[in-house]
Amino acid sequence: MTLDVSALDRPVQPGQFFHIRCSDNWKHPLRRPLSVYNYDHESHCLEFLYLVKGNGTQQMTLMRKGDTLSLLGPLGHGFTLPDQGALLLIARGVGVATLHALARQARSENMEVHVIMSARTPGDLLTVDTLSRLGATVYTVTDQEGTSSVESVRALSETLICEEGISAIYTCGSSRLGKLVQELAETYHLKGELATEAHMACGIGDCYACACTIRKGNQLKTVRVCTEGPVFPISQAVLQ
């Protein structure tokens, strides 16, 4: 979905999200959070990539050209780029939406970007072409082909880390991959970031609906995904 958001006067970072009133259907009052898939600062074009899951996303598919949408955002903290070196992005499913924005940003700063994209079937792999066109190197793994096990992804990642001068690693969409990224970041002393999800009410930090637990030093802390996140340093992530 592409929107004209000319009223927007703030920069939009990859990893940030918008809180969206998908319809004025009284039955479904809450807004839904969607990551920025792409934002063009020049044309004020904002794009979302979303999976149709329940009523909210269903309602969004009914929108037609020219309709308007009530959005709050950009919200939350986005990704930060490394000072130098190449990026490794490991995305599963629709988690690629938010990493896509990161890839675009990194490419626009001429950083090298490698993307490992995981999905159930090859048909579920999203935006491979667009990423390639941006100049990212894309590796796809799927459950169906038996290539998506954590071990396979670990092997592939380690190869890339060793051979491609990766300095930062990012992930979204799977807690198993999140754990892997956490291990890789620690082992290889890489900058690492994780984009998280949580059910939200306000989206702006008032209601504490979106709590998640992070590790800061030796302490566990409860923070708000919408405000302190959705992107966290991978070292802080508490994943089970």
Binding site: R21, P29, A201, C207, Y208, A211
Partner: protein, 302 residues
């Protein structure tokens, strides 16, 4: 000029619209004109720090939502040093919502806040369904309510607003107990204990199994509770539950409310409270009513 001002005990509000505790914060400032509110009501504060409940903490239900935040708080001292000052520069009086795990904790909280000039009144959250086992709350017992109010009354001169639970057989009994105990006003009411199950995963849609239902779906129940409480006591009532627009607010005022709190509507539309205040004014003007107080409890049951 239409007069929107109302009195809650010794406190005068310039209009009857205020946030419901737990749904409001300074983050709304860019989206809502906080100075146009009748009062400011921050999230309930507990004595010591609490982590809150398991996630998911909210889920959507038809025409409403269930929450089980469980009052995540950093404790009263952090509230005084960090939360209260944030609101100092706004005009509306601040009503501090306090939530104890025992009567003694309510007493300590009230005593501590009694000395704070930035606190205009206390709302006693004796009705949170998310703190104790299976949605139990102090406000489910008339005796406990009476004793709790009586205890808190002794330690503060600030107006006391008892926030009642709707999950009771006779709200009249609890309203009377709160009045006897020394409450200056009632908030009717907190959320309804509720549950939703995902039929695909068979899991409760709230981490804590049950939570509190709010939003439009509960409005006809809240209107009834306000009407009953208004019949039972002379205390001013703050209606809370399901208000989505000015007409809903007027409905509660006709049932007996003096003021209203808005929660879920703010999640839907962050400036809902400003819009609702305007809609109330429009209604009064259209009906040639000079003062909103002329409407309180004026449902025509003849």
């Amino acid at each position: 000029m239409t007069d929107l001002s109302v009195r809650i005990g010794s406190l005068t509000l310039k209009n009857p619209v205020m946030p419901a505790s737990g749904t409001f914060g300074p983050e709304l400032a860019p989206l809502l004109d906080i100075n146009l509110l009748g009062a400011i009501v921050p999230k309930s504060i507990t004595l010591s720090a609490r982590g809150g409940n398991q996630t998911p903490r909210v889920c959507e239900t038809d025409g409403g939502m269930i929450n089980s935040i469980g009052i995540q708080s950093k404790g009263i001292e952090q509230y005084i040093t960090h939360i209260l000052p944030v609101y100092q520069d706004y005009d509306p009086p601040l009503i501090a919502s306090i939530s104890g795990e025992s009567i003694v904790e309510f007493e300590l909280l009230a005593a501590r806040l009694d000395k704070q000039p930035g606190v205009a009144a206390l709302e006693l959250n004796i009705s949170c369904p998310n703190l104790r086992d299976n949605g139990q709350a102090f406000g489910m017992s008339a005796e406990t309510t009476d004793e709790l109010l009586r205890t808190v009354r002794k330690v503060t001169g600030k107006p006391l607003i008892a926030k009642l639970t709707p999950n009771v057989t006779r709200i009249q009994d609890i309203a009377e107990a709160a009045e006897r105990g020394g409450a200056d006003a009632l908030t009717v009411a907190n959320t309804f204990l509720a549950m939703a199950i995902d039929t695909e995963t068979r899991k409760p849609r709230i981490g804590n199994i049950m939570g509190g239902l709010s939003g439009a779906a509960v409005k006809p129940l809240i209107v009834r509770l306000i009407y009953q409480a208004h019949q039972a006591t002379d205390l001013p009532i703050i209606g809370s539950g399901g208000i989505m627009n000015g007409q809903d607010a007027i409905e509660m005022i006709l049932a007996g409310a003096t003021a209203v709190q808005i929660g879920t509507a703010t999640f839907v539309q962050p400036n809902a409270m400003n819009i609702i205040t305007d809609e109330i004014t429009d209604y009064l003007e259209r009906h040639h009513i000079d003062q909103i107080t002329d409407l309180i409890g004026q449902v025509d049951v003849s």
